[in-house]
Assembly symmetry: C2
Homo-oligomer: 240 residues x 2
């Protein structure tokens, strides 16, 4: 199977075999991380760009009162910090959620790769999708109550994971605690727990032992008001 980032960048279209060959150099330096470690911290000035190869991590920000907000889940194929090519320092942290493997890519290699227009375009595309996902999260947190909000996040992850081959059928592995889920949703873990129970009782989805099973895809999408258009997936992947 192709590396996830190839599957992902393919969605941007127009990559030829040469591009794919060049991109494989991203994998030259892959390092393991244990679960719940910081991969990069706010304020860091890393000299590598990091790409998720295996496992899950998240962007997050700690607040003064000790609460945490997760602003993105990073799955295989996602770039952690393309922005440090431009910014001086990280304005948020990235932490592993599971044991994972991360490619360390020298800035110079990124510069070299982006001389290929198709690759530069694919990376820009990836960054714009990230932006669209952030907007969707804002809508989610601003205008949906707990049940619908959780449903939307699950629909999104389902679609994204299918796109990189990690969600066959209507279930997928979600290696998060309810606490981590709540940090992403802007809720408390207690309320997430109660709401998951309701989703289960309503026959929409279950989440047990880090496994999501969507029992009723159309119904879940309906209450979530989920439209995958913002993910800009290749035709067909978001459907179903």
């Amino acid at each position: 199977m192709d590396a996830a980032f190839l599957l992902k960048l393919q969605s941007a279209g127009r990559l030829n075999d040469g591009d794919r060959e060049r991109l494989s150099k991203l994998c030259d330096d892959i390092r393991p991380f244990h679960a719940r470690r910081d991969i990069i911290r706010e304020g860091d000035r890393p000299d590598h760009v990091h790409v998720m190869i295996e496992g899950w991590s998240c962007r997050y920000k700690m607040l003064a009162d000790g609460t945490r907000q997760i602003t993105a889940f990073l799955v295989p194929g996602d770039f952690c910090d393309a922005q440090i090519t431009i910014f001086d320092e990280m304005d948020h942290s990235i932490g592993s959620l599971t044991d994972c493997k991360v490619a360390f890519v020298p800035r110079a290699l990124i510069a070299e790769l982006t001389e290929q227009p198709a690759i530069a375009r694919a990376l820009w595309w990836a960054s714009l999708v990230d932006e669209a996902v952030l907007r969707a999260w804002i809508v989610n947190m601003g205008r949906r109550e707990a049940q619908d909000r959780i449903a939307h996040l699950i629909c999104e992850l389902h679609a994204r994971l299918r796109n990189v081959g990690l969600a066959p059928g209507n279930s997928f592995e979600l290696p998060l605690t309810q606490e981590e889920l709540s940090d992403a949703l802007g809720l408390t873990s207690v309320h997430v727990n109660r709401t998951l129970k309701r989703l289960r009782e309503d026959g929409l989805m279950t989440f047990r032992r880090q496994q999501i099973v969507i029992t009723d895809v159309p119904a879940l999408r309906k209450i979530a008001d989920f439209d995958p258009n913002y993910l800009h997936l290749p035709a067909g992947v978001g459907e179903d």
Copy 2:
């Protein structure tokens, strides 16, 4: 005074006089919009990139239940839809909030301009700042209650407007209704109203007749837990 987008892109550094000269071509086709009109709609495939020259607009998304969530305020100097260079269609709408002036820039001109590395870098920089702002909004909506949330938004707008010369001192024009403010904050206008009252009574800030006056900058930043680092402004501008 320079056009706002020059002031803004300058923050990315490294623009020389030639670049600034080239960028001035962005202003060749400026069109007026009345307040509360759509400039671009979800699903559109515009053939121009739009740049705010004067007035305010916002990105927003309508939900099935008729509620609205604003995901960004666009002020002079902001690019509305650089993404349509890459994506087929808009995944959200952009609407004017005030009467405003918008530059229509042919895609071809963007392509031409981005052949200059410094300009390409500046545009990428702008897009990354947008992303950082989106993350800050997520943190805001997820982990701050109403008073602190409003305070944070006001601190952010204050810093951004100072950067383009639109907020001398500790006050600035905010041409929004409380309804529009609430659509951005994920609150109801009634609650925004009550909370503004509290902010006023606490001597932190006032909002009357579309004018924000920050009465106590350090205190407002304190309750908002505001750190302007994510805006990546030139040294000094975010400070006070």
